[in-house]
């Protein structure tokens, strides 16, 4: 099922890839994604990604956790089954803080993990496309979806070669 056709540029060096990405995007080529064995600083900016709003998600998940904890302790300790502990109020605020803290952290962590897996399509049923298996070892790979580009295969291939790709392969998925 050769639905889409990708052009895969393979680079030997992270810096070369970084500059190549900048160059070919400058020429109007749309890049599907870049794959590197380790983080290349500045690559996210070169690819034109905006900064992820994961922090906002974390804050909202955390806030949910705080409210849940407050509701839980208020209902159980204060309303449903009040217990006299050391002669204190039935709902003393300081005793609830550890629970609020823990549930904030727990829900923020879980929420962020699941959001990340969902957004990055990394769920249990996801089938990753491996453009070049060497990108997990020592090669830096950039994938370009030909269907989404106006330039022809030969033109993009030439651009990749000019900007330092050691090889340019075609991958059909």
């Amino acid at each position: 099922m050769a639905d889409s056709k990708y052009l895969v540029g393979v680079f030997d060096d992270g810096d070369e890839l970084l500059h190549a990405v900048e160059d070919i995007r400058h020429q109007g080529v749309k890049i599907h994604e870049a794959y590197t064995p380790f983080a290349v600083h500045g690559l996210d900016r070169a690819l034109g990604y905006s900064f992820p709003r994961m922090g906002v998600a974390a804050f909202l998940f955390g806030l949910t956790g705080t409210c849940c904890a407050l509701l839980l302790t208020f209902w159980t300790m204060g309303v449903d089954w009040p217990i006299n502990i050391g002669g204190k109020n039935f709902f003393p605020f300081p005793t609830n803080v550890p629970i609020m803290f823990e549930l904030t952290v727990l829900l923020a962590a879980f929420g962020m993990s699941f959001t990340f897996f969902f957004m990055e399509d990394m769920g249990p049923t996801a089938k990753p496309i491996i453009f070049d298996v060497r990108s997990t070892d020592d090669k830096f790979v950039v994938a370009i979806d030909l269907a989404k580009n106006k330039l022809s295969e030969a033109e993009i291939s030439k651009l990749l070669k000019e900007s330092g790709a050691s090889e340019v392969n075609v991958k059909e998925v």
């Binding site: 500045g42 070169a46 204190k88």
Partner: protein, 446 residues
């Protein structure tokens, strides 16, 4: 070509400490002293300009309702206006010696962690500990003079550890193996001397590195950093007991060492941050970019939460156990002494946790000078209030307050602190130009 090439600024920068700035700082310090004198004079005449203050003679001898443990010594240890002045000097000395020593602490743990990013801001942290010697000397002098020592340290009173005396206090006598004057002086002098000596060694090899280059000085600095950290790990706790916890002699908390260190640490980090931002405003420290500020901002954010965590852990345990000899500490701060310490106590929480938490939470605000300045100033003022509420109920008791005396003492200490730090900054290149990780720091990008 749209390559992201960036200009690499020069690693040669020299801070200029102008003579007019020097003059202004000295004038400010003198104004502070004058403010203390004027404030004391006004108070003795019964005029109060500050808040939560006693009006001279009105309340004399009326302030012991909260201090249950101290009641039996009431007549002996009533606080006076002089107690309040001494309390201020003691409290500011403890606060500023902490901020200073955190500079050396910061360098030391960055060496041991082999951190690269911080090498471009190392000289700023390196300048702070030069001030250790001033509050250190003041602390030693206050302890050496019997009349001031008796005001700060309840346990130094005559006969308090002697079973035959009418002032005998069994609880304090039980602590005699630790709280006795010879051992106390050994400890106090050791803190000041070793902390200062540790910094001079770190500074020496850092400057040698500038002059000679090579890795040898780096390795030596690392060894000193390790030894300093081992010493500081112990003395950070013991100094917290000796300088702050002991003013409420009957009371103790096992969390206090951490709480105190967290307070010092975050105030020191905020001072480093503020110094960097002010230097940048004047056109210095061009190598320091958003990423460095972001990392240091995370430090401040994280440790302001750490402070809250430790503070709250201490509070929660005492709240839950509800033992009278422990809750007296918070009772003195909530309702004791006509409730005068309620506001400082809560302002400290607001400025040390809620405000910096909200203002530094977002990533972008940790990368912007305006937000970082707001956060740092809040933390610095907040921890001043933290130390205020640690010491005042124990020393100044019912004579405490916030007025001209407090602002004056703090102004004097702050001006001298700035003078020492700026003077130290002007003595060396603003970057450790031969530091092996400086290159990494220049390209720091997160």
């Amino acid at each position: 070509m749209a390559h992201s090439t960036h200009e690499i600024p020069s690693t040669e920068e020299r801070f200029e400490f102008k003579s007019e700035t020097k003059r202004n700082l000295i004038i400010a310090a003198l104004i502070g002293v004058a403010m203390v004198a004027i404030g004391s004079f006004l108070l003795s005449k019964g005029w109060s300009i500050g808040v939560w203050e006693s009006h001279g003679a009105e309340h004399a001898g009326a302030g012991h309702e909260a201090a249950g443990g101290h009641a039996e010594h009431g007549g002996e240890h009533g606080a006076t206006l002089f107690s309040r002045i001494i309390a201020n000097i003691w409290m500011n000395s403890v606060y500023f010696i902490g901020i200073s020593v955190v500079g050396a602490f910061f360098i030391a743990y960055n060496y041991v962690a082999k951190a690269g990013w911080s090498s471009s801001i190392k000289r700023v942290a390196e300048a702070l500990p030069s001030f250790i010697i001033v509050p250190g000397t003041i602390l030693i002098i206050l302890m050496a003079i019997p009349s001031t020592r008796h005001i700060v340290m309840h346990w130094t009173h005559d006969g308090i550890m002697d079973p035959a005396s009418e002032h005998y206090d069994k609880i304090i006598a039980g602590k005699a193996w630790y709280l006795n004057l010879p051992f106390y002086f050994v400890r106090l002098i050791a803190y000041v001397a070793v902390w200062y000596f540790g910094w001079t060694q770190l500074r020496k090899y850092s400057l040698l590195e500038d002059a000679e280059g090579g890795l040898e000085n780096y390795y030596k600095s690392r060894s000193i950093a390790k030894l300093f950290l081992i010493f500081f790990a112990v003395t950070a706790s013991t100094s917290a007991w000796d300088l702050s916890m002991v003013v409420d002699t009957h009371w103790f908390s096992t969390m206090f060492g951490w709480y105190h260190l967290a307070s010092w640490h975050v105030a020191g980090l905020a001072t480093i941050m503020l110094t960097i931002l002010l230097l940048k405003d004047q056109g210095y420290l061009k190598i320091v970019n958003e990423s460095h500020l972001h990392d240091l901002g995370k430090f401040i954010f994280g440790f302001s939460i750490f402070w809250t965590y430790v503070w709250f852990s201490q509070y929660l345990l005492i709240f839950y156990a509800n033992l009278p000899e422990e809750t007296i500490y918070f009772r003195e701060r909530f309702t004791g002494f006509q409730g005068r310490y309620w506001w400082p106590f809560h302002i400290s929480l607001l400025l040390n946790f809620f405000f910096p938490f909200l203002i530094l939470l977002a990533r972008n605000s940790k990368r912007r000078a305006t937000f970082l300045k707001l956060g740092s100033v809040s933390v610095i003022i907040g921890h001043w209030f933290d130390f205020y509420q640690m010491h005042m109920p124990g020393i100044a008791k019912d004579q405490g307050g916030i007025g001209i005396i407090e602002w004056g003492t703090t102004l004097t200490f702050a001006s001298l602190f700035i003078y020492f730090v700026a003077n130290q900054l002007s003595k060396a290149n603003l970057y450790p130009k031969n530091h092996p990780f400086l290159e990494e720091s220049i390209h720091h990008d997160i």
